[in-house]
Amino acid sequence: MENKVAIVGVNLDSALDIEKSRERLIFDLVRGLMDDLGIEPTDVDTTIFATNDFLVGRTISNVFEDSPAGVYMRDESKVEMDATNAVMYGTMRILSGNYQTALIVSQGLCGHQVSPYLHISYSLNPIYDRQLGLLNELSAAAFQARDFLTKYGFGDDLMHAIAANSLANAALNPRQARQLPDISPQQVSESPYYYEPLRELHCYPPTDGGCAILLASAERAKELTDKPVWILGLGSSMDTYYIVERDLTVAPSATKAAKRAYEMAGISDPAREICFAEIAALFAHQEPILAEALGLMEASDAAEKYQSGETAIDGKLPINPSGGALGGHPIPATGGFRVAEATLQLRGEAGKNQVKDPKRAVVLGQDGICAQQNSVLVLGI
């Protein structure tokens, strides 16, 4: 899919406690993006939200988010999924030929409003899993981590190294919520256990934040920016909800999503053709599982890759140079953050997190228990 739909502008903000109302956050993100681009609401043909009604605390919560996003007497829709899916939805609307621009808005206030883990707890099968009372987001992630470590004979030190890689990058990034300067694998290993082997710093932090992304057709993109970032391919796939029927050490739904996205983008050897990856790994061990599914590494090589610095910002294949979801997970905006961070990288505007001259990036957003649903985008300049 060559140069048909571009990302022409992004705006994002996050904090452990953002000290803003939801309406103010949305207004600041969208008004800020419009001011950057020199546009007004009338220049936006359609707006797609990615929000989670449970976390917002209201049903059909987008109706209250329309006006602060500049949606008044205008076209609007919503996904109750990760923001990568809203980016896909917007892309398809533009590809339909009926829209020239699509604004993606996503936010979540899990830092101060409500525990982020509860949205998974209340998504559980009510007559079995909830009655048993053993399954939740952390226990499921811990089962997955234990299986992953055991399969390849890795020790907990790999989890510390992966987390330290992300957290060190996050500490360089003013757009990330969790700021831990001088973080080391040792410090990660000293953070308290939640569900063994998972420790606090292996897990995403409860985060407030949101993002606004403007997509445009090729024709409109030329008018709006000198630095369009093209959406070259996309794909998504859904695994089963039932983790007791899955091999948690692999992510076949991410593999399928990536295959579609790479085919669309004309990429046959991702490990060579992709310059960096932004992966929504909510827990440290998910990063190599998802990176393997994206064709970027063999999970069995993870210890070597992370300890040799290959995944660092200046490494051969940087993974989450932004700091990833361990730096912040404002559900369900996290995939949108990965898209926005990849966009800044491709425009050469990622500051201290900048990867050297990247041309192609892969982005992964996920939903559900142990990355049940995965959406993959290939971006390029």
């Binding site: 109302s21 525990s115 089962f143 299986d147 055991t150 308290p192 569900y195 039932y242 029927e245």
Partner: protein, 149 residues
């Protein structure tokens, strides 16, 4: 003008009635009252579910072939609960397991008693300890305990 305040609010949700599809879970619960497991096998792919949906999630066909599932199995994964999901530390660490019961393909979750958490490993054998008074509910599975076989 710039001051932001936080207001606490609580929802009083209605009571939901969840309808249970007769087949798989009822079959499992009836068996558990007798101290044994009953699953359902997909006649196409052979996958044995416990509890079973009324259709195979992989083949997308109705399934109806009940099979016996052993109450002994193998630890496929485990975690030690050090603090609950709301972040409150546990008084004692609790071991949660995912177990593949003999004769079953889907795994089952349970707690493990009778073993120090530092000695648990994937691949170890465990068995169900059934409750003495069984009522045909999920509580009939009291916990897992180490098995010698």
């Amino acid at each position: 003008m710039e001051e932001t305040r936080t207001v606490s609010a609580q929802w009083e949700l209605s009571t939901y009635k969840f309808r249970i599809e007769g087949g798989g879970l009822q079959l499992m619960l009836r068996g558990m009252k007798e101290g044994r497991f009953k699953g359902v096998r997909c006649h196409k792919c052979g996958f044995v579910y416990l509890p079973a949906p009324f259709y195979c999630r992989k083949c997308y066909i109705k399934i109806h072939e009940p099979v016996d599932v052993d109450d002994h199995g193998t630890i496929m994964s485990y975690t030690v609960v050090m603090s609950d999901i709301r972040g409150n530390p546990m008084e004692e660490p609790q071991i949660s397991l995912m177990v593949k019961l003999d004769g079953c393909d889907s795994w089952i979750m349970g707690t493990l008693k009778g073993k120090d958490w530092r000695d648990v490993a994937i691949g170890q054998r465990v068995k169900i300890k059934w409750a003495e008074q069984r009522t045909g509910t999920l509580q009939d599975m009291e916990c897992f305990v180490p098995a010698e076989d």
